[in-house]
Symmetry: D2
Amino acid sequence: MSDRNIRIESVDRRAVEDQEVEIVERKGIGHPDSLCDGIAESVSRALSNLYLDRVGEVLHYNTDETQLAAGNAAPAFGGGEVVEPIYILLVGRATRKYETDDGTEHTLPVDSVALSAARDYLNEVVPELEFGIDVVVDVRLGEGSGDLQTVFGEEGAAVPMANDTSFGVGHAPLTETERIVLDAEEYLNGPYAERNPELGPDIKIMGKREGDDIDLTVAAAMIDRHIPDMAAYRDAVAKVREAVTDLAEDRTDRSVAVEVNTADDYDEGAIYLTTTGTSAEQGDDGSVGRGNRANGLITPNRPMSMEATSGKNPVNHIGKIYNLLSTRIAEAVVEEVPGIRDFRVRLLSQIGRPIDQPHVADGFVVTEDGVAVADIEADVEAIVDRELADVTDVTRSVIDGDLRTF
Amino acid sequence: MSDRNIRIESVDRRAVEDQEVEIVERKGIGHPDSLCDGIAESVSRALSNLYLDRVGEVLHYNTDETQLAAGNAAPAFGGGEVVEPIYILLVGRATRKYETDDGTEHTLPVDSVALSAARDYLNEVVPELEFGIDVVVDVRLGEGSGDLQTVFGEEGAAVPMANDTSFGVGHAPLTETERIVLDAEEYLNGPYAERNPELGPDIKIMGKREGDDIDLTVAAAMIDRHIPDMAAYRDAVAKVREAVTDLAEDRTDRSVAVEVNTADDYDEGAIYLTTTGTSAEQGDDGSVGRGNRANGLITPNRPMSMEATSGKNPVNHIGKIYNLLSTRIAEAVVEEVPGIRDFRVRLLSQIGRPIDQPHVADGFVVTEDGVAVADIEADVEAIVDRELADVTDVTRSVIDGDLRTF
Amino acid sequence: MSDRNIRIESVDRRAVEDQEVEIVERKGIGHPDSLCDGIAESVSRALSNLYLDRVGEVLHYNTDETQLAAGNAAPAFGGGEVVEPIYILLVGRATRKYETDDGTEHTLPVDSVALSAARDYLNEVVPELEFGIDVVVDVRLGEGSGDLQTVFGEEGAAVPMANDTSFGVGHAPLTETERIVLDAEEYLNGPYAERNPELGPDIKIMGKREGDDIDLTVAAAMIDRHIPDMAAYRDAVAKVREAVTDLAEDRTDRSVAVEVNTADDYDEGAIYLTTTGTSAEQGDDGSVGRGNRANGLITPNRPMSMEATSGKNPVNHIGKIYNLLSTRIAEAVVEEVPGIRDFRVRLLSQIGRPIDQPHVADGFVVTEDGVAVADIEADVEAIVDRELADVTDVTRSVIDGDLRTF
Amino acid sequence: MSDRNIRIESVDRRAVEDQEVEIVERKGIGHPDSLCDGIAESVSRALSNLYLDRVGEVLHYNTDETQLAAGNAAPAFGGGEVVEPIYILLVGRATRKYETDDGTEHTLPVDSVALSAARDYLNEVVPELEFGIDVVVDVRLGEGSGDLQTVFGEEGAAVPMANDTSFGVGHAPLTETERIVLDAEEYLNGPYAERNPELGPDIKIMGKREGDDIDLTVAAAMIDRHIPDMAAYRDAVAKVREAVTDLAEDRTDRSVAVEVNTADDYDEGAIYLTTTGTSAEQGDDGSVGRGNRANGLITPNRPMSMEATSGKNPVNHIGKIYNLLSTRIAEAVVEEVPGIRDFRVRLLSQIGRPIDQPHVADGFVVTEDGVAVADIEADVEAIVDRELADVTDVTRSVIDGDLRTF
């Protein structure tokens, strides 16, 4: 075991890829829970940058709570309308005042910055939603509870001390099913939606693999003003199914079956038609930390942390940092070390010690046939060690928006 | 007395113009109370038009309550910022559903329409205020309490029955002091502000006349990004004083003294500098019906109604209609009938009778020297009768935005 | 004219008692607007006492804004229920922090004190309303804008300087109609309601006098759990009419006609039945300063101030102090000086001068037949002078709850 | 495989009890996230009972969102105070109207019932918190989105169809560490707190086992009015440590180390002292589904569902039902079948099929030495089958409050 308490061991189970049944889910960026995650993280980044710009270092804040209460809408072929706005409440705490060297006290516009961040995020992700009209965003940020003892500023970052017993876990590589679910959502919400404006951002994909049969169940909100009638809706659904099928078959040799909007009942006219492209417009509430984990997926086959990563202060929140860092470690390990079929790393903090020296840094390896853990142990340990040493880079990447949190 | 219970009598007092002391006040359009009045009335007009467009007639609603809770700002020469948003809550009730002839129920977007109206009004009146960021607007519109029995729709309007005992009062002509106070605010917030962007819309003017001495006290919020330093601020204040003095001297031969921002203390740096041009950005709350009466002024020398005119349903709210109508009557009388120095009309409704047949329609006349009430009584009565007969035009003018309510 | 700029003059009009038509209104304590007035004033008193207890002097605050958004109820003979709560938002500003001599900063529980005051007031005035369940009270108190320069504390009070140009007006005595309207509401909401629990506190009385005919229109909310059926309702209405008639006839020799709940339609079952005794339970919103003036009445025949008296800081808010003081002066004058039929006093402040030295203190007297103003001028002036000298007693009385503000 | 797609297999890993490192956490009932869970579930039960009482069957609702925004408090030895209230927003949807057979429409008091349930729950769990004063609870329940097709009513329950692809997982037995963490919190918040009123309900316990060393880290909010000074605080902390140590040693032969309030710094006076017994009074926000899973624990060593169980409709929400049912199945299996060291069951629904016929019902068994899966497979399968057949009993137990959800 290294100085950082790194321990690499063989795990006594099959790789997830080789297990009989696998379940994976991703809530797309327009899902109410994901909207809350995305807003919370945008607000967090905006506050970090506000503090860096004005004070030269990040002050105490935490904005990992955002509550979305659904609105009410009247979608209609060709274009409907929102009739009661969605209500979003930004909750958390943030330091509002600081002193400059001359003893002058300054007030920071934390509320305005938070609201701007929320608006910009919503405009980008759900452009059909008119800010302030279709969605009302209010803010309740309490005072931060005093000093953030960790300094993260212009002049570089010290490694903070852990102030809590917290836990992070990361995995790599993604299984085929995981990769397909993740890629499919990103493709639909990216290039596909650009060419097919009728597809809204609220896409949920559930992947289930039994042996070599992968079932993908897609719920995709369609935007009414691009859908003139039922035939157009059916076409839109069929097109999504085709696109997901193509993408999946590209990534696996297993058999793939795709279902889109299975709850539709054409006879009843009960279809997944929306005005804004998100189910938040009617009936689906949301909040932070209820959806995707830090790797973008919900993976009940794998150990997960309950920690809500989005919105937390990336300078000193050990749970956020360890979840992101462990994912980064796992990815680096499988990229750099050949012969690994499944790698999981678990970091556990120890109160009062620097966070680059965890209490436990456990790596669990499933090797490919013919590879012994002993053969690769040193390489893996070196990577874990290197990434732990570079822990403050996680903070920087989060502030720059370079790390996914949901 | 006519069929409409019109009674014209000589009043046993001097015209307000001739009284020894006169007090007049106007809260400008950017004052927090006026903002609430203006929003409430904009929301009301928008709902009337929504109902007319969709249903063909105005349904039940009442939006005469808007609460503004002040924000917090850090103004600074050259440009400061809002640090906590203003919070505005739209309160009232509005009918949300209607049936078409085929029995289909439709939902009306009353919340979205109300929020849009508030946004558009704020953008017009306080353009420095960024909607949704510097000011959060939320809405609580309850269900309207059933049918509006009065029909006001495409096919013309019936004269509604009074459903309450209510009271309206109107005066004309304005005294010199009243005219000056009203004109000064409108000039400052109109042509003057267009040429002098440092002047914000939150202007309050108090006029006091003792005998032939008129004192005008102006409180005028300056906008910081147009004011680089204290010298510029002093110039801006001096310029307002000059403009108001010129305007007043144009309208009176009495002596005029103007004071602007008298609470300023240059030594302490305590001046009326704002970021957005309204005191609502910091510390001044507001609500509907607390400021100007329907003629645009607060006139303690004259009988006033406590009724909040702004935001009320113009189809059936008897208090709103009678306050607006009585003002219109008074203006018509003094314009058309020569020899009147002061005219006041008071309308009192009678429950269950058409509102063009008030319980009391009292006209109080102070004539000019040499004119007897008997000489003009018939003419005055005819005008009162004519305007009462045309009562539904008040509703139309309100919906079209042609009548001042504050 | 005295040192205090007191001027007593004869007024060139008839006493209100002698005018041909008179209109008077009182919104009873359970009316939504009055509830807001009462809550605002209770919160104000509670904060004054909090500051006195903890700091030894009243700090800066202002709580003259309270918004009530009506709920929704399903009243029923024998007992219905509130189905959506009333929402009340306390708005204003209050100083939250102070330093003791040793430099320690303390935080004051202004929100909790405000909420407690609102709860206690509501429990007292509308006991049928279950706090927190039938009515949700929330609070948005901003920071007070710095120091209150006026000291009002344990060691006595200095006379504050006027920091605004403001205006107060008082009248005495009440006319018969005014007295009847005021007494009737207080009787109904006092001894009568104690013996007749079916009568709710939301009572509105409109008095109209034409010559010697007084019409009283009473709207009285009945409480459903004390009203088993329509017959009981009719009895309850009849009993109120009888009680008001008796009270009125006791106070006047004029003819009196009383109508109660005139909007009822027994055939339609449309009656004024409530679950809690206030129309705020369904459809009637309310806010501060929209109802009764400081003497408890709305009197369009008399000059009135638009100032919302309830909730304002009684130490330094000149508008509040002058409205209360002028009422007190008028009452003292007519009580102590015989021969006065109608007295009105108007106080106008002058910025920067002590408030016991107003810019104008105008007394307008209508004397009884045979009494000349010259005979009583000196006595009246002495009383005005005495009461002005004692201005700080108004503050004390307000804090002690001894002065009516609505 | 049975008709219910039950599959029992040996799992290719060690029992959690036998793994090298184990992590377990429980957020006690007074933790802000648990408060939200508890309120959401109380509101859900209250609505179910409201619908059963009034309509005879449960109508559509979902109340699995509750947002808590922390307040601000000034705790002090001997008794401090809350200075800004906690704000709790109940979010969800609930059917408000129903028709009786005669065609009459009735309105249900869903808001009042939700608020009452929240109040009663808070009063029970955090009695030091004065409802409406120290904590403001508001409610935003949208309309339920139409009919709940599943009938669960007086006349018995049909097995509902799955309307979503959802997943539940259950485990048994608890490991020693899990048992200790769960029991310790329940003991502290039960018999211990009854005898030691200084201990507040916000207790968080983190258990970590490495080999045979169990470390328990307890964060326990102390209530200031029962703690006169620092010595008393230290005693209180020591006493909790002793109690937890005793309880743990009773349940394990492994070595146990207990730490309580490790973040305390006595020199700085930075201790875990509160006025109400929950960190929600200052700085710790909370929401539903962020803490304990349905078995009361957070267990990163075991597969977990992200589903928020608390607050969901127990009649038709498949995720809630399957999480509760799988826990119940696992407990029944290990209780009734000897020789099982670790049992996990996973249920996956299939849209459109009755929920007692899951798409997958996977049981993973780790047997004790000398026991083959084949020996017990039939018994286990029979129990899974029996419990699935009895699925509607989960709904009944939830409504009766007999099943833990967090």
